[in-house]
């Protein structure tokens, strides 16, 4: 029988490994200089979907909302084992907050008719952990957050273990359902060489159109069809194709607005230099005892 798993993925700036090149002189981070990566916990979600396919059969579709450059991440998902990739890209998606994003994603997921929807618990650029639950609500699906293991799948129900930080919980729910997956769930498999050879040719329409601009001999429609026949087309959907209600998309669909952004600047405070000698340390400890910090 098998399960159709749909994995929600996001391309994010690598906020965890900020190198000197991405630092401005004033001590703030130059966000544009950060490399774009596959959101780490979305890789755990993809791995969980691939394990379901390995154990029970079925297929895995990855879907993202993002800029055309997110096609790189979708190709990576194909190298790792996904069967199909969908890119929702549309200028009218810009400035979407988590609510608008989940609405748009839910329109896409509905077209895919999944048995199980999976996504990472949170993305490292915002760390909100909101898009999973909000997408579940928009789809009217039960949500199981912080999933570490799927313990049982019997066609109509699922038993999963949730990691609650200070303990765990085993829950059962009917399918379809949406799971958010934590990083302790698994070790994502690496891209496979054979798949890489095959899927490096995978492209989405906007990339083919860019090629056609440089090379007039490229026939966009013919190329899309050829790639689709070979299973190499990254499906590209816009809001019209999704039939999305524009009042719930982008800036208009986003109740939260940014009031202000401040860069964190690492500034020096009043500080005392302490000599790493016994007398230096003694003086420091003495001061802390006198002002009742310790002792």
């Amino acid at each position: 029988m098998g399960y159709h798993c749909v994995v929600l993925v996001k391309q994010v700036p690598d906020t965890k490994r900020i190198t000197g090149q991405a630092m401005n002189e004033d001590g703030t981070v130059n966000r544009a200089a950060l490399p774009a990566i596959f959101n780490p916990e979305d890789l755990n979600a993809l791995e969980m979907a691939l394990e379901i396919k390995d154990n029970h059969g079925g297929s895995v579709t990855v879907i993202t909302m993002g800029l055309p450059t997110a096609a790189d991440m979708l190709r990576e998902a194909l190298y790792r084992g996904a069967d199909r990739a969908v890119l929702i890209t549309d200028r009218r998606c810009a400035a979407s907050d988590t609510l608008a994003t989940s609405y748009i994603l839910s329109c896409g997921v509905r077209k895919l008719n999944p048995d199980i929807v999976l996504c990472g618990r949170q993305a490292i650029d915002g760390d909100t952990a909101q898009v999973g639950p909000q997408t579940a609500e928009k789809l009217g699906l039960p949500q199981v957050t912080y999933v570490e293991h799927i313990l049982k799948l019997d066609g109509t129900t699922l038993v999963a273990r949730r990691n609650l930080g200070n303990g765990w919980q085993e829950v059962k729910t009917a399918l379809p359902a949406l799971l958010t997956v934590v990083d302790s769930a698994n070790e994502p498999r690496a891209p496979r060489a054979l798949r890489l050879m095959k899927y490096k040719a995978a492209q989405c329409r906007i990339e083919i159109e860019a090629m056609a601009k440089d090379d007039p001999s490229v026939d966009v429609e013919a190329m899309c069809k050829m790639l689709d026949d070979k299973g190499l087309l990254i499906h590209q959907w816009d809001l019209d194709y999704l039939g999305a209600d524009l009042q719930w998309c982008g800036r208009d669909g986003s109740p939260t607005k940014v009031h202000r952004i401040q860069s964190v600047v690492l500034t020096a405070k009043e500080a005392k230099d302490i000599e790493p000698t016994q007398s230096g340390i003694d003086a420091m400890v003495h001061e802390l005892i006198v002002d009742h910090t310790i002792g």
């Binding site: 906020t15 965890k16 703030t28 981070v29 966000r31 907050d97 988590t98 609510l99 989940s102 650029d125 909100t128 952990a129 909101q130 999973g132 639950p133 609500e137 039960p142 949500q143 199981v144 957050t145 912080y146 609650l164 200070n166 919980q169 085993e170 829950v171 729910t173 009917a174 359902a177 719930w248 986003s254 109740p255 939260t256 607005k257 940014v258 009031h259 202000r260 952004i261 401040q262 860069s263 964190v264 500034t267 405070k269 009043e270 500080a271 005392k272 230099d273 302490i274 790493p276 000698t277 016994q278 230096g280 340390i281 003694d282 420091m284 400890v285 003495h286 005892i289 310790i294 002792g295």
Partner: protein
Amino acid sequence: MIEVNKQGEVWIFAEQHAGKLEEVPVELMSKGRELADKLNVPLAAVLLGSQVADQCERLGHYGADKVYLAEHPLLEHYQTGSYAKIICGLIEKYKPQIVLYGASPCGRDLAPRVASTMRAGLTADCTDLQIGSHEIKKTGQVFDNLLLQIRPAFGGNIIATIINYDRWPQMATVREGVMPMPTPNVSKKAQVVKETVHLSQDDLAIEILAEHRQQRKVNLKASRVIVAGGAGVGSKDNFKLIWDLAHCLGAAPGATRAAVDLGFIDRDHQIGQTGTTVRPILYVAAGISGAIQHQAGMSESQKIIAINNDPEAPIFSIAHYKVVGDLMQVIPMMIKAIKEKV
């Protein structure tokens, strides 16, 4: 979605487990009180559960003017669907202007579900909340008395202030440990508003088969003094020095994510963006370079001693006492000085 309602109350979701209030809604009470006073509206707690009425009194002591109490046998164990249904119903009925949740695993599961149903804004993991105004530059339109929802983003590299001026309620989850615990006032009583609850098995999409909660091995949030080690400590053996210094200061041992990942110490001790947030009186950072993710969890410490052999380590930029040197030598000196009460 509810209309903008300037008379609306400030609400706090009173998360409880096994009939006992969690710490995070109590932490939220002092901030909630401050916001409600600024807006000149009542502060209310929203308490859901089965046989939890005895917790209303404590909520009053911590500053709630009112408690909306929703009791039902099916609310005994938290689950998303049933709790979200009750809270959405209460929001539609009473139209609060602000609803706050702890950014606990439960709050982060519940709040987005409620926000999506209400089509309301939600800001995750706030570290501060204020009341302020916002001007739309293009039109010159000004909105007064909005909830300014302040949070780190981009891995802690920026601080974003988020607002929602047109679709209410204004909702936020608030990080555990960032708001100080209020002092209870036992003479203060909250008005208890009992709600009638209609729930059936159909409202429970989840069946809880088993659950295990473990006590944390260390209570970092309650510690006055914390001695923390990072990757620079070098090994699990060397980490014994951190334990020794902590022991002699009556402090809790903490660690960076790097030190935990290297296996020097258990994950319960992790401080930082993905661990616990602490605000002790004294924080000793040994062999910690001071990555922004770690600073996010300890920069509010009243005094910071940094010990590192790299004078360029970012931790020194927030330290009050800078010791450039080898922690293997400096820590024994500290232990000696403390024991001798110099």
